[in-house]
Symmetry: C2
Amino acid sequence: MASMTEECVPLRALTFAEFKKGFAYDEEQLYSLLFKRNQELIGIRREKFAVRNLKKIFRATFKLVPKIGFQAMSLRDLLAETGLSMGGVYLTITNKDNIAIIVKDAVTLVCEDIVETAKAEPDPTLALERLIKGYLYSSLLLQPWFYFLYAETRSLPLEHQNDSKNLERSQVSEIKGLIAELQEKPQQGYPAEFIATMALTMIQERYLKPWKYKQPAASIDEYAENCLRLIHHSVCHYW
Amino acid sequence: MASMTEECVPLRALTFAEFKKGFAYDEEQLYSLLFKRNQELIGIRREKFAVRNLKKIFRATFKLVPKIGFQAMSLRDLLAETGLSMGGVYLTITNKDNIAIIVKDAVTLVCEDIVETAKAEPDPTLALERLIKGYLYSSLLLQPWFYFLYAETRSLPLEHQNDSKNLERSQVSEIKGLIAELQEKPQQGYPAEFIATMALTMIQERYLKPWKYKQPAASIDEYAENCLRLIHHSVCHYW
DNA sequence: CTAAAAAAAGAGCGAGCGTTCGTTTTTTAT
DNA sequence: ATAAAAAACGAACGCTCGCTCTTTTTTTAG
């Protein structure tokens, strides 16, 4: 039994601290990317000013929304929190919906990067580790963004609501694909879909309920390892 | 290994169909209970009229809210959907917030009942089955209620937001308690807290993302059994 | 230094919000 | 049958919303 376990569970572990070092989306870089990707939603033409205002607007949004919700957050609340004027805010984001749309774009961007990185790894066990930890650690580093997209999907225009649901579907589907690769006789373990659903759910748990995790930093590594072990056990074990 | 599996996994299975037969909260009963428990929030004094209006109001709410959110649902949307007048709606619920507060009360009521039923079972394995299936099946039968409370917690007055978070904490805590009872040497398996969190997360998955589950009815029993098997495996296995 | 361009300011607009309240209709009890 | 009580009605109220637009300030380029 012990050897079976060792076969299944990856031996080396990518920690949160290591991942953070190579993370390509710190605040400055992220806003710069969002500015370039969403020119048609943003009224300001010079990056310097756009990034400065976007930073203020999203910081304020992420402070207000978890308490009262996006619909209940008025633009006047936003003015008070950012210190900007109505004109400044509207020059930056053009209209209120665009705040939510840009959040969706940010999360989509990061998720696509995670999948790409994982797919570059030929060994499926290591690829799965990169994928799961990529989602888990990224969604923690960008917690307000991931939380907002999940909690405020219904505040998005309908087309963008569908994008958001499809993003979740594709996340499960990527995980499921790697799990299926690991299952030689898929009939005998848990269904790959079931395991993949569990995995994503455990990832979401952390960024959706921050009030449950006043994180002592180490705990996220433990959590990640437990998740991966549980996944591998579910893949390997027959009964 | 096979015998270990059999020790861990319960042999008899309570199905969704069986559970539904004994379920004490069909529409009529639930509204009647809510009327009695929330007299001070409800303006109508005769149960017959209160129940008829509450039914209309909550059905309409559960139709509108998943698409646009509670804050974006106006009372005029509600009038159109219910066929009631402004006066009728306000006589029934007194103010808009009370809709959300009454939903919180309903979910709390049902959850307390589930815990009570599970605790009446002396064998911890059977108690765990009752608890997990109680949550899973109840939250499916009352999907709109459970979904609303999770998705609209931020629309509640602050005191009630805390109630909602505490309800989730107590759910994890009840599951964790039974799991700890099953673990003879707790140090060697997954932490009880981790397993309990996973369990609740898997329950929430089903009522939070109905768009993923156009249920063929049998699938929920399978899902429940997979969840319980996974829990028992996580409890029993050492590594 | 200066003139053109870009960004920031904030008063004001119409629409729609939750809620109220005087009145009418329905139900209940005698 | 009747009068009192309860429920239902819906126009109107005050307010706040997202957004626009003219004016002012700051930045940039020659």
